[in-house]
Amino acid sequence: MDFELSPEQVAFRDEVERFLDENDDPEVFDVTRENMAQIVDTPKKREFMRKVGDRGWLGITWPKEWGGQESDGVYEYLLNEALARRGGPQIGKGVGIIGKTILAHGSDRLKKEFLPKILRNEVEFAVGYSEPDAGSDAASMKLRATRDGDGWRLNGQKTWTTSAHFAEWYWVGARTDPDAPKHRGITLFLVPLDQPGITINGIWTMGDERTNDVFFDDVWVSDDYVVGEVNRGFQYISEALDLERFTMFTFSPIEQRMDLLREYVATETRDGERLADDPLVRHEIARLATECEVARVLGLRFVAKSTKGGPPPTTEASEYKLFATELSKRLANASMDIGGPGTQLRVHTEDAPMEGRAESTYRYTVIDTIGGGASEIQKNIIARRKLGLPKNF
């Protein structure tokens, strides 16, 4: 048991920091976009991620056969945490969800077409699982795919597709067998988002971010763009979700917000008294600091268990996601409570405490315990898979 980084890992971390210093740009790095900073939604962010790709850092855990380094997952973790700390775009869907699923289950054609592009960051993806009537119950998706020639015709609607308005390809689940049990009638497709018949409508959120409804009207997809086997899509989705639960919710933003709050409490006075001398405030800071350390070492344990690109440990992913997102909310609540009336001021407002981060963190984090599997769904997963309790639906 050892909690220190190896000399190679320290050297890598330093190299990443130097690279980030050299490429510092407020349009690429913006911590005030909170957890949405990770998406690669502007030309400048794309350009930056291409440079990350040039370094060979997008395929750290991928097999050498496909341009990867077959290296330890801890390096991917260090890179992502460094990117997240600065509010930069992160290694996400392309390398993690789509790339790893294609590597495990995709045809040679899909591998040849997509894997090199992913490693050079020449393609952005949107992911479509949720529908108006399929949220937590994702397996009940109804977007219909019917057989048509050498392919499929898709009709229906997806929702909460965050990247649809700038991505090129849609990674989308559709029902290919309506008579099978709901988990066994879903197939994963790759669809170009400029395909005729696709309509994308924006939905604006409390976090000032855009997500989308996506409508399919007789959209044709060739058999070549079916991912893996027909009707096995939900299994692939579940595997990838475990990974998403970990990579989407990095630790360093939590640490950074904790530092901001601690610094505020340490320096602020109220009615002539140091805020840090208020026993209620001290108690709250101590509790949160402890929970931040818990999240940090829990994340390290997850990395240790899922190194070398093996399958991510399911219940650990759920545990981490559940705890980290609930902690983010507790931290945001505490920042609002402790910061007082000024916390209602918008981020970037000069007079706002904690650089206005209290309110932006508060607005953004409310979605974290809902997206990527709600907290209650994570508890179901933990109870079923780790405690062996019976299914309740």
Binding site: M1, D2, F3, E4, L5, S6, Q9, V74, R262, V265, A266, A276, R282, H283, I285, A286, R287, A289, T290, E293, V294, V297, L298, L300, R301, V303, A304, E316, E319, L322, F323, E376, Q378, K379, N380, I382, A383, R384, K386, L387, G388, L389, P390, K391, N392
Partner: protein, 340 residues
């Protein structure tokens, strides 16, 4: 970064678990509750043969010479089994403290017998009102100001303080320094007192992990088999989520306790902070798991006859020992918000 125990550490843990499953059953615990000392000298001797009692004693004195990273998995097992023997007082705190302050003749006289399971140590620090296993101890290591003294059992006056956990024998200790009792003073003693406290808190946190695991196990077992409204109650989300919450707190506490073990073993500067985070978190986890386990069991869990009480009470007792969660959080607060 190697975030796992070594194979040897895990094998040792498995051996202790196997031993305790046979030799420290709920029936044995009930025997301990009504016995004179609250623990079994016979079991302690067998644990000595396994190497447990002398785990932290140097090889020169007949022990295994291992550190906290090897001790913590064993302490988890002792908590899971509800083991009442003085492993915290003697092995986790007493032996390393004695080794730190010496002097050589005292080490020679006591560490061998500790490793052999023939001598029991108790530790009384200022600020901790009760001493566990004081009545059974052959030697008490006692703090007075900035001094550490070693006083034999016959030279202290004990007042028994009956605890809610019947196997946990506590006492207040009255004693006077005498010629020959002083082991160390000044900086050496101050450092030994600080590390003794951190070792005690860490060891108790590790035991609490085991207690919490057992509480979760008992509750899950009950939830899988108890049928109401035509199905196992574990199928109901109100029950399932409660159990998932308890398990989560345990899974969260574990790496923090391991981190603290690493910090104590390596003597890193943040040792006290890491230990306090671990003890606060492990105490809260055990308290939550106890509440959840009792609620899951329903009325049967409230009975004397049911074994749940053995771990509930141990959890409550250990959560309050070596600094409770609130105390340790205050220490975390002092570390993260230092007074200028």
């Amino acid at each position: 970064m190697r975030f796992a125990f070594t194979e040897d550490q895990l094998l040792f843990q498995a051996a202790v678990r196997e031993f305790l499953e046979k030799e420290c059953t709920p029936a044995d615990l009930r025997t301990a509750w009504t016995s004179a000392t609250g623990w079994s000298a016979g079991r302690w001797t067998k644990l000595a043969a396994l190497g447990v009692t002398g785990l932290t004693v140097s090889e020169r004195h007949g022990g295994l010479g291992m550190d906290e990273l090897s001790l913590v998995p064993v302490l988890e097992e002792s908590g899971r089994a509800g083991m009442p023997e003085p492993i915290v007082a003697t092995t986790a705190v007493g032996a390393p403290m004695l080794d730190e302050v010496g002097p050589d003749d005292v080490r020679e006289r006591w560490l061998g017998p500790v490793a052999a399971g023939r001598a029991v140590l108790a530790v009384g620090l200022a600020g901790l009102p009760f001493v566990d296993h004081a009545e059974s101890a052959d030697l008490l290591l006692l703090q007075r100001g900035d001094q550490v003294h070693a006083v034999s059992r016959e030279h202290v006056t004990l007042v028994r303080q009956p605890a809610l956990d019947g196997a946990r024998r506590l006492a207040t200790v009255a004693w006077e320094p005498a010629p020959g009792t002083l082991l160390a003073d000044g900086e050496l003693a101050a450092a030994a007192i600080e590390s003794a406290f951190d070792r005690g808190a860490l060891a108790t946190a590790a035991q609490l992990l085991g207690v919490t695991q057992q509480l979760v196990n008992l509750a899950v077992e009950h939830a899988r088999h108890r049928v109401q409204f035509g199905q196992p109650i574990g199928a109901f989300q109100a029950v399932k989520h409660m159990l998932a919450d308890a398990l989560l707190q345990l899974e969260l506490a574990r790496p923090v306790v391991y981190r603290a073990a690493y910090s104590v073993a390596r003597g890193v500067p943040e040792r006290a902070l890491d230990v306090s985070m671990a003890k606060a978190y492990a105490s809260d986890a055990a308290t939550l798991a106890g509440r959840v386990a009792l609620q899951t069991h329903g009325a049967i869990g409230y009975t004397w006859e049911h074994d749940l009480q053995l771990w509930l009470k141990r959890g409550w007792a250990l959560a309050a020992a070596w600094g409770d969660a609130a105390w340790h959080r205050a220490r975390v607060g002092a570390a993260v918000l230092p007074v200028p």
